[in-house]
Symmetry: C4
Subunit: 214 residues, 4 copies
């Protein structure tokens, strides 16, 4: 009667799916029927922060989904604490559209507004990185991982997951220097991760290793 974590993944994927499409729903308000007397091309061009928020949300939530996919494929059992940590992660995931929307809108705002929204945004991302660490820590400690998983690999993943919030904290600190620089640093980290970077980022390299071995 032990349940494999498939249901946790289905449930989490439902939330990721809604988060990824929420911004597309938001885009609908820029349809011509609601534009009034203005010219359509001008109205569409003026809505650029909405498109940017859409792409940012997709990039970030997509990346978190990849990380979730990479970690959960090693989990073979679940307990109450792991589920609570996973819910906490999803709480931060569901907040991505809100913070991405604020962020994109304020790129044309004042420096103080840019700083506030960049801080909110990086705070959300930092919260996700912390939750990933809690999930992995709990899965290791409560022996919920696949028994054949190489302990060395387990530790390597833990180290890489730990590195991530530290890198985000550095990017976060640059908010006080310049908000756009801070976001730029963060986007560099995301792109490095998506194109399977120099190995300092979690799970990408791991996945490659264990799949070539399989």
């Amino acid at each position: 009667m032990a349940r494999d974590p498939a249901r946790v993944e289905t449930f989490s994927d439902g939330i990721f799916a809604v988060v990824l499409t929420v911004m597309a729903v938001e885009l609908l308000q820029y349809g011509p029927a609601r534009v009034g007397g203005r010219e359509l091309p001008e109205a569409l061009v003026d809505a650029w922060p909405a498109y940017l928020a859409y792409v940012i949300t997709f990039a970030i939530a997509g990346q978190v989904w990849l990380g979730h996919h990479n970690i959960w494929r090693y989990v073979v059992r679940v307990d109450q604490m792991l589920l609570v940590f996973n819910l906490l992660l999803l709480l931060f995931v569901a907040a991505i559209p809100f913070t991405a929307d604020l962020l994109a809108d304020n790129l044309r705002g004042s420096a103080a507004e840019q700083r506030l929204t960049a801080a909110l945004y990086l705070g959300t991302v930092l919260g996700e990185a912390v939750c990933f660490n809690l999930i992995w820590w709990c899965a290791r400690r409560h022996r919920l991982l696949h028994p054949d998983l190489d302990p060395q690999l387990t530790r390597a993943i833990a180290r890489r997951l730990l590195l991530r919030p530290l890198l985000y904290l550095v990017a976060f600190a640059f908010v006080f220097v310049h908000p756009v620089l801070s976001l730029f640093l963060y986007l560099v980290l995301v792109v490095l991760y998506l194109i399977r970077g120099p190995g300092t980022l979690p799970s990408a390299a791991t996945t490659a290793e264990d799949r070539s071995a399989a």
Copy 2:
């Protein structure tokens, strides 16, 4: 051709996922583009009932999901009546964002408004607790549970599930004393459940037992 209840779980998880992200969609209306002439930090701070509703919805729907997860992993077959009870549960689940939104908004309203919204909210939660009992009763009576499930465990779960609406009724009664006290009592019950409380709450202890046995 007997179908395992996996599809019921997928379907229910889809509803839970939408419910958990509905409030995040609501948050989007507080984005700066819609704020008008006001200062952004002030506008964001003023929107605190929306954040509160978001967190409350997440905590409650997340907890109901955990309970659903715990009960359904023992169910190996489904029949029409069980599916109808499950749909009834989901009807109450889908109403959580509405009542949580009313509740959070009215914490700064009059005492009469607070009483009304707290009553609506606890009524929804009570309805869920009753549906859980109906599901478990139906699953036992129609022999839809796993055949190897210990009858003693089955009865223990039934007792614990029965305790829950009774505790909620007590919390509900305090609405007539003071609405915020009533909600506070309710939140204590939720937190006790989430951190695997003193064993008086359903399924947490059960899960621990049967997993250490597995």
Copy 3:
């Protein structure tokens, strides 16, 4: 490499889940923050058509989901035509919230408005019943059903599925007598189905038979 129809069910369930929660999102606009200067209890009571639309949507979409669940558990393979018929069914399912909303709102409208919205509503439901017949016809003709399925049972399901749109057509015809009578007839049919009626309705009896046999 033949794929079982699990993915079709997951996909359909996602749509059912969104449809069931759409009305809950609509309810949010009746939250007190948007009510303005009116009293909260009065505003909530005045919103009754929204609650009714919510419950109607849940009852109908829930019932269609039950029917979908009952039919698809006999399907073991899929082909292009079956998938297209299933998409057509989902097109009608996704329209339920719109027609239910129109319907509930117009119960306090003029007789002509009631007739129009009842006709739209029953038209949607009729479309669903027709799609169910197309799906079953296609699954039988293209040999996509479980090979051990009793041909007599297959024919019985086909007969019952055929009966349904006929009954709906009768209910539909009463729109020209009185719209509310027409809806009442329809609701009687739904309730009969949900409580496992006198055997004239599809799949309920079938399911019972084949489960007691299993």
Copy 4:
């Protein structure tokens, strides 16, 4: 510990489900409660672009889902690059409701507006067709397909997938002649595909072959 691509499908299906129902949510704003002083039948008739956008979105997203279903059933493993290409496809899928809404609304606009929205729409569809090619190319090159898959079939699918964006480009070019003609050409391609056309369109014929062989 190798994970089959089931989770990728569940996740993608969640996004397809939301995309398919987004337009139904949009329809709700045409409910009579929001119509004001106008007559209901007139208001409903005037909302025809919304219905058209709903049906277009359903047809296109449904067709993309069919293509996704057809390709992914041959994939037995996933890697980072395949997941990123799949996310890119989903980025275009989630944009369908926005472009379909713009398109339907502008069918009564000026020729310049029609050209702009038709171009946006066909651009989205073209992006999807390119992503399908990237997914198939990556799956072949990284040996993620089922090992028993006939290499001849693999190449045939690749050729057909390549044909599709070319046909869309031709339809796209006609935007500069007449936007409605361009869309008409595109719709002919879609219908040909849905009714399992003359074999020049991807996966329909393939699916038939490999299923009769199975």
